[in-house]
Amino acid sequence: MSAPATEQVQHGRRASPRRLAGERSERAPRIFAALTAARDPDAPIADDTRTEVRLCAGSACHASGRLAVRAAFEEELAARGLTDTVRVVETGCHGFCERGPIVVLWPRGLFYGHVEPADVPRIVAASIVGDDVYKKRLYKDPQTRQAIARAADIPFYSEQERLVLALNGRIDPYSIDDYLAHDGYRSLAAVLADDDPDALIETLTASGLRGRGGAGFLTGRKWRFARDAPGDVKYVICNADEGDPGAFMDRSVLEANPHVVLEGLIIAAFAIGAHEGYVYVRHEYQFAVERLRWALDRARERRLLGRDILGSGFDFSVQIDQGAGAFVCGEETALIASIEGRRGMPRVRPPYPAVQGLFGKPTNINNVETLANVPRIVAEGSEAYAARGTKTSKGTKIFSLTGRVANGGLVEVPMGATLRQVIFDIGGGMLRGRTFKAVQLGGPSGGCLPEALLDEPIDYESLKAAGSMMGSGGMVVLDDTTCMVDFARFFLTFTAEESCGKCVPCRVGTAHMVDILDAICKGEADMADLEKLERLAHTVKENSLCGLGQTAPNPVLSSLRYFRDEFEEHIRDRRCRAAVCSELVEFHIIPGNCVGCLRCVAVCPTGAISGPRAEPQSLDASKCIKCRSCVEACRYNAISGDAIVAETADTTPGGAGSTVTTGGGDAH
């Protein structure tokens, strides 16, 4: 890096403030006038004071049947002659994905979930024509069973602080005017008017924004490296290769508000001096790709992208590159290789992409959520932004809350919120009242944290110290039906398959770790294997080339740290307390609990359960394939896969009601 050259540039820029001030006084009004002109004043925009039907068109709601719901609304409104007075708009993801299809009615902000086409006439009659609510589809508090009408009053929303997701569920992702009307591209205009990339980078650095994709590197510093790197041609890349199983916030932001990401990317390009950019997005994310493409076209039409943006003289063009399904391509150097049309294999760093990246040029890569934070930081200033969060982690973080939790979906909270707040206050606690066992954060690179850490504030450092990591923000809640050994094996199997094979520790090490975990799950391992596993985990962690291998052992190490007894139980007692590892499990009917309702008989795919109605059933172990269908179906705790529970229950017929709970971990 040639530091003197950089200093000259900076010096030169600051040497003639007076001349610049003169230019700026003329420049700013021109750019803001261009911004005003970019918006079509007649285009419809989201307005909370008018009657609007906002239908969620996110992927989850789409899967739950939102198209039929939209058709029903259109039909019903037309039949009542309300088409002109009521605006029906399809918005991006509302985040409460578990409740899909979601409909929110304004001006009252009423929230309806699990809406079916048949409900629509009643909803229209009650809440659009009338001044009432349609109780059946309102959210009901899991504890009190009280219906809550307004979205803003539901704890899932009221306990969040939605900054990045602020316009999700509000604006039409296909309308650039809707975004412009909500101060969209105003930050870009301000940045172009100021024409001071160094000050911009200062602001970003001072805001404390850190990469939301996993590693948590200071974004401002990253921009500084790329800006200071010598070279005329530079690139910016938006990393939308969201590969972590269990994370979908990037997808939701792209689907709901593609312009905010684009605005962030253009600002990043201006900061480092790039004129070409890429969005690297998963091929599987077809909705996101479609909406992004649409957004790029509109932005180009309105002179927000392309040549001479808003008349500022700054040129920037973007193209979309679709990933072809390789988890490792989330790693920067692998992603670059993939865009260059090669096998997506990481390389040794340094040189870092900021110095030598795409096509050998200085390249800045930011994740979707990181870029979506940028316009807000510019708008409200670094101090206001940094007021949220903890000492080292500023702003908010979006988590995708899933697993055995009552209210799954996208949750945005300030850094420093506790896991308990997210899982129990916002997430509504455990599914079907089961017992919390662990929460997995950070996907295949992260780890499982036990109940004792639920009150830890969430930030980059605290999670790392606890043996997990922020990662991209996947948060999977586990209950007593999850086996920690099987779960560790699940992640290692994933990383072993996704290992690109370039370096030995990762390629060979992860495969051996899977073998050992497999043996433990089957009850074929001994205690020495456990030590071998731990040693191997450290070897892989310390010697792998890229982030994939360096973090792959985390799920195993964190599980061994907090749930070692479960591993030992598998080896010593050949017992899987969660009744998941099929080799260690044999299902039994607990006669004292069975009422003979025959639900299990109806679901058993092999006819292994039989008996007369209203009497305890019997289970033929030779026919049982251990699919757990009966366990899921049983409402009386009458089937157990755990030998200890079943035996205790067998010896004390009649008193089984009390014995069932002794096992604690048995499934029902």
Binding site: F248, Q322, A326, G341, M345, T402, V476, F494, A602, V603
Partner: protein, 169 residues
């Protein structure tokens, strides 16, 4: 975009082309530079259903790369396939959320019903079964897709019903 491709493509198992030569059209519009390779492979597979040895050869020639180079890139990415697809595509999500909510049971049910597992096609060419790491609809776990239609919050009974309906007609 997909609709336009579909009209020139036969959806049958052999993946044979109907009408024009879609690969020729794809190769004609690309600039022939290496960075386009992955995109060209994606378009070719979208149009033809899979990447045959002949497709690889023609793409290699157009981009002035060796066949082994093109093949090496194609095999690196999970998206590409080198044999004709089944008539119906059944994808089972085995991401984290689906794993803890019974995705494995979904896969086992399919294996039992169809007699084939992940990465295989039924002998009659009707179904191909695939496991995917995450479809991004985690709140609906466990999730499967049949011909790109997402079915969320599945259980063994629902899945069996779905397969019964399909195999019934």
């Amino acid at each position: 975009m997909t609709a336009a491709v579909a009209s020139t493509t036969c959806r049958c198992r052999s993946g044979e082309r109907v009408g024009d030569d879609p690969l020729a059209a794809i190769l004609a519009t690309c600039s022939g530079e290496r960075p386009e390779l992955v995109a060209v492979l994606q378009q070719a597979q979208d149009a033809l259903g899979y990447l045959s040895a002949d497709t690889i050869r023609r793409i290699a020639r157009r981009l002035r790369l060796s066949e082994s180079d093109v093949f090496g890139v194609a095999t690196f990415y999970a998206e590409f396939r080198f044999s004709p697809p089944g008539r119906h595509r059944l994808r089972v999500c085995l991401g984290t959320a689906c794993h803890v909510k019974g995705g494995v049971q979904m896969m086992q049910t399919i294996e039992r019903r169809l007699g084939v597992g992940a990465g295989e096609t039924t002998p009659d060419g009707e179904y191909e079964v695939e496991r995917v790491a995450c479809l991004g609809c985690c709140a609906l776990a466990p999730v499967i897709t049949l011909d790109d239609q997402i079915h969320g919050q599945m259980n063994v009974i629902e899945l069996q019903k779905l397969l019964d309906e399909r195999t019934g007609d």
